[in-house]
């Protein structure tokens, strides 16, 4: 007789039920929604919610419901169009009080939400959105640091009146002393700036010349810092963009991946993410002729030559009053009807601004807009990206009064004011970045992919089910039952892991449907063979399952190896294929060996069978 012990039957049942429970949220579908959260994290009061409702009704923006969860508002819509439509007006209504993010909210009932049961998360190619891969220019990060060392060491040597010639040679700093007696003092100075720096005397055996370098550890630390800082900044910027469930993560040595589901305008997203725009405030060199300097192609000592937006040359003092990293907050508003950015400085910046404005009343001050642009050039037959810094004077105003931490600047367009305030708020990138990959999937393409992918699954499934039932009769039905459970388990596990389902992922599921019957086919063919060899039906069933067990394991382990290699090397959507394929292999082993056997035992195991129809 073929019978499972009770615990085995219960185990199979428990796994199937758990899979079913995990898979159920996927049948409810999702609503396009907006998530509104206050910047200070405090919840909304009843009256505030009422205000928003009234506002939306006034503006004739149709929504289906408003609910609160974790101090956030969740506004549901019937379609994506009204969601996007409403998001713009709510954003302008709440202005700087709250952030508004586009999202999809599952329609699962409350008790499921409480159990934290969620539907599968859909990848960008199914949901629509933008995918970026950026490369961090680590050489530039090192270069910046070296420049900083040169400035610091030089300043310190000037203070000590040490006569020297200091210059940067690639990643090294060469210091030549006019007076050999200053050697020890110079070494001490360098140690004070950073005692980890490696100093070697130049090979000319002359003690007056030395080379300063960063150690390997310092270089590594600097590179890691640049990437971490960039990821942090980009996270801030993404939050400013108002995207629900964004992904910002490091990939490999020097890459950062950004995924923005639901975003439909990649240009704005990229402008914000990749920009290194910042501001600098400088005094104008008043007593010099800018046109003369332009003609000579050389600025007078202590000044730099820049251009205004109109194309006029301007000479500005080399030393900045305040630089971009001293800005703590910025917001867009209007000043006398013109777009403006209001700015708040940190204490160091405020002090410097206060002193400068006090001493330079009625003198002109310039706002310098600094932006990095990516340029592709051909070098030795290979296309190489490089960063170009663009500096532009956007505004020159006369200092009318003394001010320190808070003020406004004008001279920008509405869009620039908006972008600039986002960028200044989110902080600067520690190193320039280049976009190396971008993928945009429009919402209609995403929906198409979902529709086509799922009909491929359904039709593939239908054909296989029909064939199995026709060919193996009763046993075929059992195999089909296993196939359905297999599908439920895959969906359940994907929902549990919250790994994003991509189009290749769907292809992986389809492939699994085709291959999952393999284990059952092996078993059934073996049972047939045993019967042909004259064995009793019950003995044939036992032998069938027993004899092919090793074969099934061997065959599946090798496919699993291929899937795992794919997972390790694959990126983006291909990873999704590897994930569903791997999960599918494991679940099909369970359904073919344990689950189908349990059913066979229940149906055939307890009675004497004269003839097995298989």
């Amino acid at each position: 007789m073929n019978q499972y012990p009770l615990w085995k039957n219960l185990l199979v049942m428990a796994i199937v039920l758990a899979g079913l429970l995990l898979a159920i949220p996927n049948f409810y579908g999702e609503d396009p929604a907006l998530i509104v959260a206050k910047e200070n994290g405090v919840g909304f009061t009843e009256s505030e919610i009422e205000d928003i409702k009234v506002y939306l009704e006034e503006k004739e923006k149709s929504f289906s419901s408003i609910s609160t969860k974790n101090n956030q508002l969740l506004i549901r819509f019937s379609d994506v169009e009204s969601q996007i439509n409403a998001s713009d007006s709510i954003r302008s209504y709440l202005n700087r009080v709250a952030t508004v993010a586009l999202a999809f909210a599952p329609r699962t009932p409350n008790w499921m939400n409480k159990l934290d049961l969620n539907p599968m998360s859909l990848g960008l190619d199914l949901r629509g959105g933008v995918y970026f891969k950026f490369e961090v220019d680590l050489d530039a990060a090192i270069d910046q640091r070296i420049n900083q060392y040169v400035t610091d060491i030089n300043k310190s040597l000037i203070d000590q009146r040490i006569r020297r010639n200091i210059k940067k040679e690639g990643n090294r700093i060469r210091i030549e002393l006019s007076n050999p007696e200053d050697y020890t003092a110079t070494r001490r100075t360098i140690r004070d700036v950073d005692n980890l720096l490696r100093v070697t005397n130049s090979s000319n055996a002359s003690i007056t010349s030395m080379i300063v370098e960063m150690t390997e550890d310092q270089l590594k630390e600097r590179r890691d810092f640049a990437i971490q800082q960039n990821i942090l900044t980009m996270r801030n910027r993404v939050n400013e963009l108002g995207v629900a469930e964004p992904i910002v993560q490091r990939q490999g040595l020097d890459r950062i991946i950004v995924q923005l589901p639901g975003v439909q305008d990649p240009t704005q997203a990229e402008r914000i993410l990749g920009a290194t725009a910042t501001l600098e405030f400088r005094l104008v060199c008043e007593n010099e002729n800018a046109f003369e300097a332009e003609e000579k192609g050389r600025a007078p000592i202590g000044c730099d030559l820049f251009y205004e937006r109109s194309g006029n040359p301007v000479l500005l003092k080399k030393k900045a009053i305040v630089t971009g990293n001293q800005l703590v907050d910025a917001s867009q508003n209007f000043s006398q009807g013109r777009p403006a950015v209001s700015i708040r400085l940190d204490s160091k910046g405020s002090k410097s601004m206060l002193e400068t404005t006090k001493r330079n009343l009625n003198k002109p001050m310039a706002v310098l807009f600094i932006q990095q642009r990516q340029e592709t050039k051909e070098e030795n037959g290979v296309l190489v990206n490089s960063a170009v810094l663009e500096k532009e004077v956007i505004n020159i105003a006369t200092i009318r009064g003394v001010f320190s931490s808070q003020f406004e600047i004008t001279g920008v367009s509405v869009y620039e004011a908006n972008d600039l305030s986002i960028l200044l708020r989110a902080g600067a990138l520690a190193a320039p970045i280049f976009k190396v990959e971008e993928k945009t999937v429009g919402p209609s393409l995403g929906q198409d992919n979902i529709d086509k992918g799922f009909s491929a699954i359904l039709i593939g499934l239908a054909v296989v089910i029909f064939f199995m039932a026709f060919y193996y009769k009763g046993f075929g039905l059992i195999a089909n039952f296993g196939l359905l459970i297999n599908l439920v388990l895959i969906v359940g596990i994907l929902s549990l892991l919250q790994a994003s389902l991509t189009l290749p992922g769907i292809a992986g599921i389809v492939l699994t449907v085709g291959m999952a019957v393999d284990a059952n086919v092996l078993i059934f063919e073996r049972i047939r063979e045993e019967i042909r060899n004259g064995n009793s039906p019950q003995a044939s069933i036992t032998a069938g399952y027993q004899k092919v067990f090793a074969t099934i394991t061997d065959a599946n382990v090798t496919t699993l190896i291929a899937a795992l290699v794919l997972f390790t090397f694959g990126t983006g959507p291909i990873k999704g294929f590897a994930v569903t394929l791997s999960i599918g292999i494991i679940t099909s082993l369970f359904t073919a060996i344990l689950a189908s056997r349990a059913v066979v035992n229940i149906v055939y195991g307890q009675r004497t069978i004269k003839k097995l129809r298989i």
């Binding site: 296309l383 429009g442 209609s444 292809a507 085709g514 063919e525």
Partner: protein
């Protein structure tokens, strides 16, 4: 016990010749024509657009040429209203500008156009991916070889790997001969083919191992033929169901999965053929014999004897 068998291996010289010819043709095509790499590997810019009415491709090309994109590749994608436009990487290609410029130049006609999706890949990333893809393939082959070596015996391991190389080479060859677009999804499909083809081979090898132990004093070739015969219905049914779903994927799954499903269809067909006519003859050529598979019991040494 009289075991029914079909003499599959009687035609082994013919099939081996056929396989060698196919492999040579594939190698020749791969060397001289190469693959037709997709944007994933070359880098560049790609847009997918949908028109309200089927556009004239010639007109679109002229418009793009006017906009300065004379190297653009324009293709129908899915339906006659959908177009895919691809631009290879070149100097000063500012991807921010390209997308807008292309859309503008397409929009100039009365037929309104909608952007469905776009993709930009820098040439460096494409190059890396090509290297990584090759490495992944080699890595997978080595791991699988080690596994089979551990579970079976080196002659089987070599037989399985010969069959795998055969499958991958011919699938790639077909993609090269017909210059089908070879993108990342196709590469993934080929790795899946590696897993699949092995699946088939292992089922037969497993049976060979079993029969070597059960049928002593039988000619090796008879054991191989018996094993193939015993597993042939399973081979056909599994390949059949897999092909059924793959055809569903090919015809219904949409344009972006076409290359993927095609690679798998070719791979499954060749993989099924190779597990019977490449893997099994290979172990025969390697002179596999009963002694290779019988576990030799260590003779117990009796220490108690004087």
């Amino acid at each position: 016990m009289n075991i029914k068998k079909i003499n599959f291996l009687s035609i082994r010289y013919i099939t081996t010749c056929l396989s060698i010819i196919l492999m040579l043709v594939s190698i020749t095509s791969l060397v001289f024509r190469g693959l037709n790499p997709g944007i994933d590997f070359t880098g560049g810019f790609l847009v997918e657009v949908a028109y309200d009415e089927p556009p004239s491709i010639v007109e679109v090309r002229v418009n793009l040429e006017d906009a300065g994109y004379s190297d653009a590749i324009v293709q129908n994608f899915g339906s006659s209203r959908d177009l895919m436009i691809r631009i290879l990487p070149r100097e000063n290609l500012d991807n921010k500008v390209v997308g807008k410029q292309i859309l503008d130049s397409l929009n100039s006609s009365t037929n309104s156009v909608q952007l469905r999706g776009s993709e930009f890949v820098s040439p460096q990333v494409g190059k890396e991916l090509t290297e990584d893809g090759g490495l992944a393939m080699i890595f997978a082959l080595i791991l699988i070889m080690i596994y089979i070596m551990a579970r079976f015996q080196w002659k089987f391991s070599i037989g399985a790997v010969i069959a795998l190389v055969h499958d991958v080479l011919i699938t790639l060859g077909i993609f090269s001969i017909f210059q089908l677009s070879f993108d990342l999804a196709v590469l993934a499909a080929i790795l899946a083919v590696v897993g699949y083809s092995l699946n088939d081979t292992i089922v037969i090898f497993d049976r060979i191992r079993e029969n070597f132990r059960a049928m002593r004093n039988t000619e090796t070739i008879d054991i191989l033929n018996t094993s193939i015969t015993q597993t042939i219905s399973r081979t056909i049914i599994t390949s059949g169901t897999t092909l059924l779903v793959l055809f569903a994927l090919y015809f219904i799954g949409g344009k972006s999965l076409e290359g993927f499903s095609l690679a798998l269809i070719i791979g499954v067909l060749i993989g099924t053929y190779s597990s019977i006519f490449v893997a099994s003859p290979s172990v025969l050529y390697l002179n596999v014999s009963t002694t290779d598979l019988i576990v030799t019991k260590k003779e117990e040494v009796d220490d108690g004897m004087p």
